[in-house]
Symmetry: C2
Subunit: 508 residues, 2 copies
């Protein structure tokens, strides 16, 4: 028995990592096992470790409680067993733990802080040149976004013909120099010329993913990991079930201890030519078994929704199914699924040829407010044409649109919402009316959104006793006009412009 | 027998009127009958006449053929019979006859000229002060509108508290001086204080209606007569079946011979508290029996549609049921009803407090293009706040919005559409694609509309042989950019702005 003290202390909800040497002959990814058992006063957890190349194995653990932990690491990877102790200490102010479902339709961090999700998508930002990655992180730092969707595997698609900085597997890709924008096509399957060993991970690729997740964590951003996706020319979307399962287990062992990880089983599960529902259900079983922390789990559609009522799905990750209505259906989806509604594809602000990628900033912001005021959580993306073909949606970089500035304004309003968040209430037919989503009403907090409608005034009545403070919010011009205290039945003057909201809060 | 030559000649599709003296004792509206029979080489028609006050009766007839007609007028209204002859002559260039359904989904005048409907609504424009009526007619003259919806009965509603210039019945109304904007309410029934005799028409009211229909005819505008509506404080919406039927027969006798009349049985049939489906079906039977010309017939909803598949309904007069989608559903409604789809309430451009009356000019124009490119026919209305409370929607007057100018531009494009009009074709999911609605394709005429989407380019392919002229249409800025001749697979550059259309016409 090799007894060791690694890091002496680690914050609760941070990563405690055990690094140990082990066998590197054969295929260490398949031939050997490694697992760690972590014991504290309040919990005992056993997790898989993983091979990280060069004869190094790692086991990562996220303590959910403060106090002393002991651990043992064992498996066929080594003749030796390892054990030790560490202290889990009070988290620093920015460490709120994992995000979990709260009050059926919402999210909160493990320490109880509400998490009002406002996401973006940059499918393969982390597989771009280093300079561009840096720019992406800078942009994110200066944004309202607290969640980002991205893929572990590289992406092949229109505007995505370049090679990634690394591949998830050992091997060599097909010659992509023949690909041009003009002859772009989607590959149905693994084209000739790819030579990857789907049982040997490229640890550099995954070390980089670790690093990116950590950087996002530092920015307070959830890493909504798209573990599988169909936009592929390397065969990663059509591996055997054995290789798929190996991949899932490897990934969970590597990144499951990062508190900001969410599992997005797929981008557009329904576009994989060779995967069946049974495959997705099998991956879900693997996650439920191997992810001892129960990170958030979702699966995202192109056309038909996955059955979001499946018990393993923690929240609905939705791509709108209709060209015209999406965010407007949040109420219906809440009622149908009784889970948080996250609009992970609401269409992208931009001007490319595709209808999913060319809405205006106004329309994007409108959809965000519709979603939030209906008790859902919106997500952004951006696809502006650009001579370098660097589109935020896939590559990250800089934002060029008009919506992100408005999200910062919106986020402030979101953050002022009493926990656990908003729910739609029965308002007039021509407004989106929201109140706090609590079973016993304790907050007199109402938010009305008028979308593309342009009323010059609206009348309100709640009760005869309460004094209400009224604010008129211009969601596009980012102004808040305080219209003072009102009581009983009252009228609020509005400017007859689009995109107005009215916030009404009981003050006495 | 009293033999007379009245007007010696009348245009085909114009009104030939016989004026005869008759009994005025008792109640001439109910106690006496009058009918005329008109015989030409190609048709024999018997129509009811009507009492027009001061001992005068009239019978009106619209000849559908050229040539000599003889007629007789008889009934209990007089001991005498009247007869005579007249010549129906070739119509003048602006007289195309009645509008009829053409090719299932479209309209055409009786002479075969396509009629591409582009309507507006001014519910009671004709019951306003004379000066305002004149202004309305001037505005209409300078507009793209070729149809107007308006009511025979006055209207009581928000912004509609004033008295009409006349009432349809003899009697006196309730005291309306007590009504204010603040205490406005809808009356469910006939409030106290009204004393009308629902069996004695006020002929001055109807003479004025005749006059208005004639003035619209001169402007080439269809009079879509809303015969019944629920926004009432005088009891006109809750008369007995006997009085309702008397009203229908009187109105048909009076105005049925005007070629520009359409019968809109109701505005919002479903809001009448006391009318049943059987009532509406009974009115329909009366029209089908008494209107020998078969003017267009429709019935308009507030919430649920009337069953537009009823055989007496010539076209669907639709108020959108959804806040967000309306014009976008024209394809579905075409398939469901196989009749022309007329969007008589698509929401109004304006800024009043109600969601049906505060959309922007852009949104209005967008809905118009959506409707037209999907093979339907849009209708406009306007509700801008104004210190005199004169809103186009109800009172007429002047237009203040940004959409009407764009309708003129659109109307030019509409008028260039080959007969019988457009139908939706299978395009991409993110465009509205239209072609000519003909069973054997003879026109290579395609119109693509991009709505709120902002593509920077689009690719098209029809065939390898034809040369196509491509025009990029900015529906908001009202420009047409000719992008020359293309063949085979080709790309069209677009400005990445909203509200663009592309027209592609085969030229060789």
């Amino acid at each position: 028995m090799n007894i060791c003290k690694f890091n002496e202390t680690v914050e609760k909800w941070d990563v405690f990592e055990v690094e140990v040497p082990g066998k590197s002959d054969g295929n260490p990814f398949t031939d050997y096992t490694i697992r760690g058992t972590f014991r504290g006063k309040e919990e005992t957890r056993t997790v898989d470790g993983f091979y990280d190349g060069d004869g190094v194995y790692r086991v990562r653990f996220m303590p959910s409680f403060e106090g002393e932990y002991t651990f043992t690491v064992e498996g066929s990877f080594s003749e030796e067993k390892h054990s030790g102790t560490f202290q889990a200490v009070e988290p620093s102010p920015d460490n709120h733990g994992m995000v979990r479902v709260s009050h059926t339709y919402h999210f909160a961090y493990e320490d109880g802080t509400p998490y009002y999700s406002i996401g973006t998508t940059c499918y393969v930002w982390e597989l771009q040149a280093e300079e561009l990655q840096k720019k992406t992180l800078e942009t994110l730092k200066d944004s309202a976004f607290n969640k980002i969707r991205f893929c572990i595997f590289p992406k092949h698609y229109d505007y995505n013909l370049g090679e990634p900085i690394s591949y998830p597997y050992e091997g060599t890709p097909m010659d992509s120099s023949v690909l041009t924008k003009e002859n772009f096509k989607e590959y149905d399957g693994c084209p000739e010329g790819n030579h990857f060993d789907y049982k040997r991970f490229n640890v550099k690729h995954f070390q980089h993913i670790d690093d990116c997740i950590r950087k996002l964590m530092e920015l307070g951003i959830q890493a909504d990991l798209i573990v599988m996706h169909p936009y592929d020319r390397w065969g990663f979307s059509e591996m055997s079930p054995e290789c798929d399962d190996l991949y899932w287990k490897y990934l969970i062992a590597r990144v499951g201890a990062f508190r900001n990880v969410w599992w997005a089983l797929a981008n557009e599960y329904d576009l994989f030519p060779k995967k069946t529902l049974e495959d997705w259900e099998r991956y879900a079983r693997i996650i439920c078994e191997k992810d001892v922390y129960s990170h958030l789990r979702s699966i995202h559609n192109c056309r038909p929704f996955y059955d979001h009522s499946r018990p393993w799905i923690t929240h609905c990750s939705i791509q709108r199914q209709d060209l015209y209505k999406g965010a407007e259906l949040v109420n219906e989806w809440r009622e149908r699924y009784r889970k948080p509604i996250v609009l992970d594809e609401i269409a992208y602000e931009g001007n490319i040829q595709h209808g999913w990628g060319n809405i205006s900033g106004q329309e994007m912001v409108r959809r965000f407010w519709e979603a939030f005021c209906r008790g859902g959580y919106p997500g952004h993306g951006e696809t502006y044409m650009n001579k370098d073909d660097i589109l935020w949606w896939s590559h990250g970089g800089e934002l060029h649109g008009e919506s992100p500035e408005r999200f910062k304004f919106m986020k402030k309003i979101m953050d002022e919402t009493p926990a656990p968040g908003l729910r739609p209430m029965a308002g007039e037919w021509d407004e989106v009316a929201a109140e706090v989503d609590e079973s016993v009403p304790s907050h007199k907090y109402y938010l009305f959104y008028y979308s593309f409608m342009r009323p010059s005034f609206r009348d309100y009545y709640f009760d005869d006793e309460t004094e209400y403070e009224v604010e008129v919010i211009d969601t596009w011009n980012m102004t808040i006009e305080n219209q003072g205290i009102h009581k009983g039945k009252f009228r609020v003057q509005l400017p007859g412009r689009e995109y107005m909201a009215v916030r009404i809060r009981g003050v006495k």
